[in-house]
Symmetry: C2
Subunit: 602 residues, 2 copies
């Protein structure tokens, strides 16, 4: 990097032993100041690092005087000479730790009030305070690291895709509302009263139209918007790597993304990928073995179905089986010695997830079975169960008997909890996998209509097309989801490119012909003009960066995130607007009572 | 590039002499079909090129039969053998023109209705039709070229900035409305009735906050939004390269951008840059010499002020001068022979721009002056004027006498028109220049307040700060605009980073203290916590790509643009929404009469 000489000759992360003796100028923030033995030591900080500055009155009385008035977060410019630190005072934790700059002049570029939290120490700060003063929060090394990681990750993705002939094409943010899936954010039109644009939930339709346009390989780092209730770490706006390719099948897309993820992980992180190529599981396998379609494969701990071995006098098992449910179990290696209280805690957790309880079976180090089951099931039946579970002395077995969905939900969550407890998770490891063979449709009992499992544009296996007429729920889609460490980080499909088939899917979703024409007519029409086979995927970048940064929420990897209640605490948005602005948009706010008002952040 | 073998082994732009004899598979669109001598010739097209396919019934009766039913824009897959074309039938205009593929099998992947306009020929098509069927328009080579150029330009910018330590940081699209400058697009909040987000007109405040955050060097390819009346080739949403740097002065930013522009132009175009380093003109020089702050420097044709030589008996001149105006002229080289009608046409053009007329003076090849002026001004005065204008035999001089603003407006437009007429413009040439030393403020007579010339955050020369109190209009800003071929393609400034100074500027703009706190309080507060000196710039990418592509409107370089009346004709947006959606947003549409409704595009 080359910098102008005006404010600085070097950054605060740049000076080394070899610069000793040089005259330099640095600019940055006062990270800490220490007065010691008549000298003043400043840690000067910028994005690139920290450099120690020494103010010795015998070298410059004026610099020492200015330094004596500095406080944390003042912005200063320091001129001085690079010198080696005294032996024994080097700081091996600092890249510049071998040297210090002996100040000959210090200029205050801007003072600072006492910040509401310390930048220098990495202490925990309440999140609302961090968000209101995000510009201070971003000065901290954690957030700076995250922003740099995010930049490097996305840059690496672009390089990878550009090299493979993908064109980044910008699609509009002001598009048409098509109520399906999540709620749209709307933008009133000033020119056409009562008309609205919508912000895209994804560029799905437009990227497919780019394939119809013959542009062959498209990508975009795309901003997307969903007006959802912000449970579970979502943001009103989020970023996805959006990809679409013509003349491809599932393998083409999956292979591309697999190569991309391996490339970027190796390029920008120190993490290890557990298994290459990524394992591919069918939706059914994933549910059977891990109880979820987002399995965390950093550890094994499989769920095991023992329904066929569970019949008999044990009422809990028997009831589940006769009402069409299942019995599934989990082996907890080496946990036979868990105390009654520990097992009870796990049982409480299972109950909180909807289980009626947990049935436990401990195998003592000597091979003795300890369980309520021993009173009800004969020894050979218990032995068959133990054997199916591949259990041995010292193991604890936990069972849930219920509807299979409940078994899966409870045991999959229990599996994660036990993996943490057993320290089976290596924080440096990334376990990617693909899940495929999803059903195309599910049935919404309440609204009495079919719903697209992924999105209505997803294609289906050719041999399953006739089932659309007879047993729609049995149709398998051409969808693929990519999972990392138990989080879904993306998904896509090979699409329908035949207008009549797309129309059929919309009909199953109970759209009238008029609604289909109004909302999706442009897609159906486009497909009449030579739509090539095509497929694509979208990766959720916020979540991927979060995982790679080792963070727990996506807010930690977004420069200016909103709160869980969709507020920007820094800018104070949303906010009321002038009546004049509303008039121009031909709108008025409805009279409402008992409206929740956002807290004011002054 | 490697492609899956499923649909194709090569692209339609890839096969050469060296592939002859190979079995290949191609996929693409039927660009043209010709039946000739019992054979069928297909031009198969994809993004990468066109390959000729020959269907010879003696090689494959089935392929010939399928081919006989193909029409333009069918999507097909062709299997065949690469063969050299017969001598004399090679096509040097086609990269694949040395070969053809002899089809052994053809599969129709998707048929096409007859498209509303031809893709293969590049004929003019009405723009509304092109926009409604944008996915067909984008198949044409012109639009494909523009999309590829845009991708490559932006990729090159990112590479350049990444190498120089810039971080691309995404800023939010849902922000706070701050009515200043253009009209905001608003987004109603569902959670907070009567509250709205706004879409950013630019990330100005957020990028400055990133500098306060110490992130040092920021850029973003940023989507921006302005709800303006769409005169003069604007779009509701547009894209800018947004940059901000800490610890810099004007030269740092200008040098960076100059290097960037030279790099990307050389990387992605065949254009020549007329002058490096880019000339820098002051705002006053630009107005004086070219009559505009966006001078087109591909040609010279300077305006010349002759006010001091124009006094005397010529009433037109005298009136302008006594009422405080000016007399400025333009030398049209070699135009002394223009007919009376030609001069009259130029005069009409001048009148349409607000001039009262044009005064002409022709110098015949023998040096004789032909002008109404000769009756009123003495010969030596005329000679002084001719000499000031650096005119000689054969030249035509044109003068405007009026308020200086009118002189500049008229003569600058006349200058452009004459440059075209005299063929002084080389379409392969790019003339960049900087304009600097703008006034900080202008005075809005109507609203009786000062307005920021650039934006209220622009800094001012240190020595001019005291003038804020006394003569605000004399304060020179630290703004710089970058011009290419007479279009402003970007602008920026070194910013104010002192809260009190920013407050002062807002006060001059007639904001009350309460308004300042409400709208800009977060900026003023941020500047209290150690805001470094910083500056930046934004380049309008749509316009830059347009110039580099040789297009006349930015709609030609945007994949899915809106019309001049802000409609998306493909998606049919904006559009009415469900009453339910409005209820959720606590809004109702005002009753209105005589509302202009957008035309329906079915």
């Amino acid at each position: 990097m080359s910098f102008a000489v005006h404010y600085r000759t070097h950054t605060c992360g740049e000076l080394r032993q070899e610069h000793c003796g040089q005259q330099v100028r640095l600019a940055g923030w006062v990270n800490r100041r220490r007065d010691h033995g008549g000298l003043i030591f400043l840690d000067l900080r910028d994005r690139y690092g920290i450099t120690q500055v020494v103010c010795d009155p015998s070298r410059s009385e004026e610099a020492h005087r200015v330094a004596s008035e500095l406080r944390a977060e003042y912005v200063i410019e320091v001129t001085g000479t690079v010198a080696p630190r005294l032996p024994g005072t080097e700081n091996p934790h600092l890249e510049t730790g071998a040297i210090e700059v002996v100040a000959t002049a210090i200029r205050v570029l801007n003072p600072s009030r006492v910040p509401p939290f310390s930048i220098a120490d990495e202490s925990q700060v309440e999140e609302t305070l961090r968000l209101k003063y995000r510009y201070l929060d971003l000065r901290r090394s954690r957030m700076r690291r995250n922003m740099i990681l995010r930049h490097r990750l996305i840059k690496a993705m672009r390089d990878y895709l550009d090299e493979r002939g993908f064109l980044e094409i910008e699609t509009p943010i002001l598009i048409k509302s098509t109520p399906e899936g999540a709620r749209d954010y709307l933008v009133p039109s000033r020119l056409y009263p009562g008309h609205f644009y919508a912000l895209p939930q994804s560029p799905q339709q437009l990227k497919q139209l780019l394939m119809v346009a013959g542009l062959d390989r498209y990508f975009q780092i795309a901003r997307c918007f969903r007006d959802e209730d912000q449970r579970s770490d979502r943001q009103p706006e989020f970023t996805q790597l959006d990809i679409e390719m013509a003349f491809v099948d599932e393998n083409d897309v999956m292979n591309l993304i697999e190569g991309l993820l391996i490339f970027v992980v190796e390029q920008v992180t120190q993490k290890r990928i557990k298994q290459k190529p990524f394992p591919r599981l069918s939706y059914e396998e994933a549910l059977e073995r891990y109880g979820t379609d987002r399995p965390d494969l950093r550890f094994e701990l499989p769920l095991v179905t023992i329904s066929d071995l569970a019949a008999g006098n044990f009422a809990v098992f028997q009831q589940a089986l006769t009402s069409g449910g299942a019995v599934k179990g989990l082996r907890v290696p080496g946990a036979a010695g868990y105390s009654r209280r520990e097992v009870e805690e796990l049982t409480e957790f299972a109950r909180s997830l909807g289980a009626k309880g947990l049935v436990s079976l401990a195998i003592s180090p000597t091979g003795e079975l300890k369980s309520a089951l021993t009173k009800f099931l004969p020894a050979e039946q218990l032995q068959a169960i133990v054997s199916r579970m591949q259990a041995g002395p010292g193991d604890l077995l936990l069972f849930v008997a219920d509807r299979v969905e409940v078994c899966n939900e409870v045991l999959s969550r229990l599996r994660l909890r036990l993996a943490e407890r057993l320290r089976l998770i290596d924080p440096q490891e990334l376990a990617f996998c693909w899940v495929v063979d999803f059903p195309l449709l599910s049935y919404n009992e309440e609204e009495r209509r079919y719903e697209a499992e992924h999105n209505p544009f997803s294609g289906m296996r050719e041999e399953d097309v006739p089932l659309l007429e007879t047993e729609p729920l049995k149709v398998r889609s051409r969808q693929y989801d990519i999972i990392c460490n138990g989080s879904e980080i993306g998904g896509g499909s090979v699409r329908i490119n035949v207008a009549s088939l797309l129309h059929k899917v919309f009909s199953l979703m109970n759209y009238s012909d008029e609604q289909i024409r109004d909302r999706f007519g442009h897609m159906l029409e486009a497909f009449e003009y030579g739509a090539p086979p095509h497929g694509g995927i979208a990766l959720g970048l916020d979540r991927l960066v979060m995982i790679l940064a080792g963070e727990q929420t996506i807010r930690e990897v977004i420069a200016f995130p909103k709160t869980q209640s969709a507020q920007d605490l820094l800018l104070n948005a949303p906010s009321p607007v002038d009546e004049q602005q509303l008039r121009e948009l031909h709108l008025q706010v409805r009279a409402v009572e008992e409206i929740p008002q956002p807290p004011v952040h002054s």
